[in-house]
């Protein structure tokens, strides 16, 4: 590191990204809580383990190949150029910068921040398929969304050189599309193949409510996701960079925070907009669901997700209104799709993440129309058509399609869904039975000792 200012900037950046990682852990804790809370008693532990074990699997595969995909694929490849092997080489699992290295303090924390996004993408899917998917099948799907599909979309649309940014003017600063729309679409693709839980729909097709066994736990889980979302937002920024470091069209020597696209923003702006979009979502969620706690909390999340694409630039009142609008759309679409297509999305993940993310991208195209998508010359401006095409790519092309295809393959191999008897007995049946027998044995021994 040359000079004290560079040293300070590097160490600050290292610590900045590091601090986002334990914060983002709360997202996963929250997902586990709300998923287990939404499941019935006979499925608790399998539901918990299904979500927990995606952590190691996505982590190691993201190390093996996910991180390389991000750096090698911003051009498509073969859309604005070939594979970027030079950038990819520095981020392979055999690169010296991926291990302890005195010459590189940033790669490790940057990798980890992206990895936590990968967990989130897979965890979003996890909730929607509870109580009937084979854990082994889910974990294969988790690797596909967490270490392949989402990171390709990030290379395309969440990278300063991504082809979608260059050609479409795609703007998605806090990941309405690159995390949420894709994960929602991926979940929907699986759900179409997986089918509903037994008893979810009456013979005439009317959906039945399968209530969470613990609504309180579900809501606290969602509350924890809000907490973790702070880390997610902060991790989406480059904390401090000088215009010379960007090398684009910005003149002067005023240092700034930027988005992932290296376009200027401030931490203050996104903090206010995060809270205003959360509020808009909560207010709309409460009204549209008539005070239902689960949908009010989910509305808060949907509010943030909808506004996230443009929360680097929106006025706070824009963020509030957009958050509320996205929540309204997500709620209505969830029940319409459930009735119309008999889709059993157990936790509303497709709606809260997929539909809200999609809507957020489209709205962003109108509200930020004409704003430069990049500090570099020759990039398309943000525009409604580019955002709409981007939303289609995120939700359907990289989300729904891979989810549907891999689920079809797993179903054809007989691996996707648990046996009907196990679904009725409960995934935890064998464990519960053993534990009850052990407890009865201990009680009998204790009574004999009286």
């Amino acid at each position: 590191m040359e000079g004290n200012l560079n040293a300070l900037t590097t160490v600050f950046t290292e610590f900045y990204y590091w601090a986002t990682i334990p914060l983002m852990f709360f997202i996963h804790i929250g997902f586990c809580m709300y998923e287990v809370g939404a499941s019935r008693r006979r499925n608790h532990m399998h539901t918990l383990m299904k979500n927990t074990m995606l952590i190691p699997l996505v982590t190691i595969t993201f190390f093996f190949f996910g991180w390389w995909l991000y750096w090698a694929m911003p051009n498509g490849p073969w859309i604005t150029g070939g594979l970027d092997l030079a950038m990819g080489e520095a981020n392979t699992p055999w690169s010296e910068t991926m291990g302890p290295n005195t010459g590189d303090r940033i790669t490790g924390v940057f990798w980890a921040a992206f990895l936590l996004f990968s967990w989130t993408a897979a965890s979003i899917v996890s909730g929607s398929v509870i109580e009937r998917i084979n854990s082994g099948a889910f974990w294969i799907l988790a690797v596909v969304i967490g270490s392949v599909a989402w990171i390709i979309d990030a290379a395309w649309g969440w990278h300063y050189g991504g082809w979608m940014v260059q050609l479409l003017g795609y703007h998605d600063a806090y990941a309405s599309g690159v995390i949420h729309a894709i994960a929602g679409g991926f979940a929907l693709g699986i759900l179409v193949v997986l089918g509903p839980r037994l008893g979810k729909f009456a013979a005439d097709g009317t959906p039945r409510e399968i209530n969470p066994h613990n609504p309180w736990m579900v809501c606290i889980g969602l509350f924890l996701i809000y907490a973790g979302f702070w880390g997610f937002y902060v991790a989406c920024n480059v904390p401090i960079i000088d215009p010379g470091g960007i090398g684009g069209q910005i003149t002067g020597d005023t240092w700034t925070a930027t988005t992932i696209y290296l376009t200027p923003t401030t931490l203050g702006a996104i903090t206010v907009n995060f809270l205003m979009s959360l509020s808009g979502g909560l207010l709309a969620g409460y009204l549209v669901s008539r005070g239902n706690a689960f949908w009010t909390y989910s509305g808060g999340l949907a509010g943030i997700i909808t506004a996230s694409a443009g929360n680097d630039l929106y006025h706070p009142i824009h963020a509030m209104i957009i958050g509320g609008f996205g929540t309204f759309c997500a709620y209505k679409l969830h029940f319409w799709v459930e009735r119309k297509f008999k889709i059993d999305d157990a936790v509303g993940a497709v709606a809260v993440h997929g539909y809200a993310g999609f809507v957020g991208l489209v709205v962003c195209g109108f509200v930020l129309w004409g704003h430069p998508s990049s500090p570099y010359e020759g990039y398309a401006e943000i525009n409604p058509l580019g955002q709409f095409v981007g939303a289609i790519i995120m939700f359907f092309v990289l989300g729904f399609l891979p989810g549907w295809v891999v689920a079809k393959i797993l179903a054809a191999a007989g691996m996707l869904r648990i046996p009907k008897q196990v679904e009725l007995l409960g995934l935890d049946f064998a464990t519960n039975r053993d534990e009850q027998a052990a407890a009865a044995d201990v009680r009998a021994t204790e009574k004999a000792a009286v």
């Binding site: 006979r42 010296e96 302890p100 005195t102 082994g136 007995l425 409960g426």
Partner: protein, 72 residues
């Protein structure tokens, strides 16, 4: 002799770089890691199938299922 290549800290850190052991064998580490990952999936899928087959064969009758549903 050191597995990390570092035998003394009497160095200028800008000249150091990687400090983990067995540098140059990263390709082998990757192969081992990928084999362990794929092997884990194979073992897990087999174990899960065996577990469910066992549950179905021992408790998949109507009476057991009705009893389990009553207790849910």
């Amino acid at each position: 002799m050191s597995t990390t290549g570092i035998e003394s800290w009497a160095v200028d850190l800008k000249d150091v770089g990687a400090i983990y052991p067995f540098q140059g064998m990263e390709g082998l580490f990757l192969i081992i890691g990928v084999v362990l990952w794929l092997g884990w999936h194979v073992l897990q899928v087999r174990a899960e199938k065996a577990d469910y087959d066992g549950v179905v064969s021992r408790h998949g009758d109507e009476a057991s299922i009705n009893e389990a549903l009553e207790g849910d």
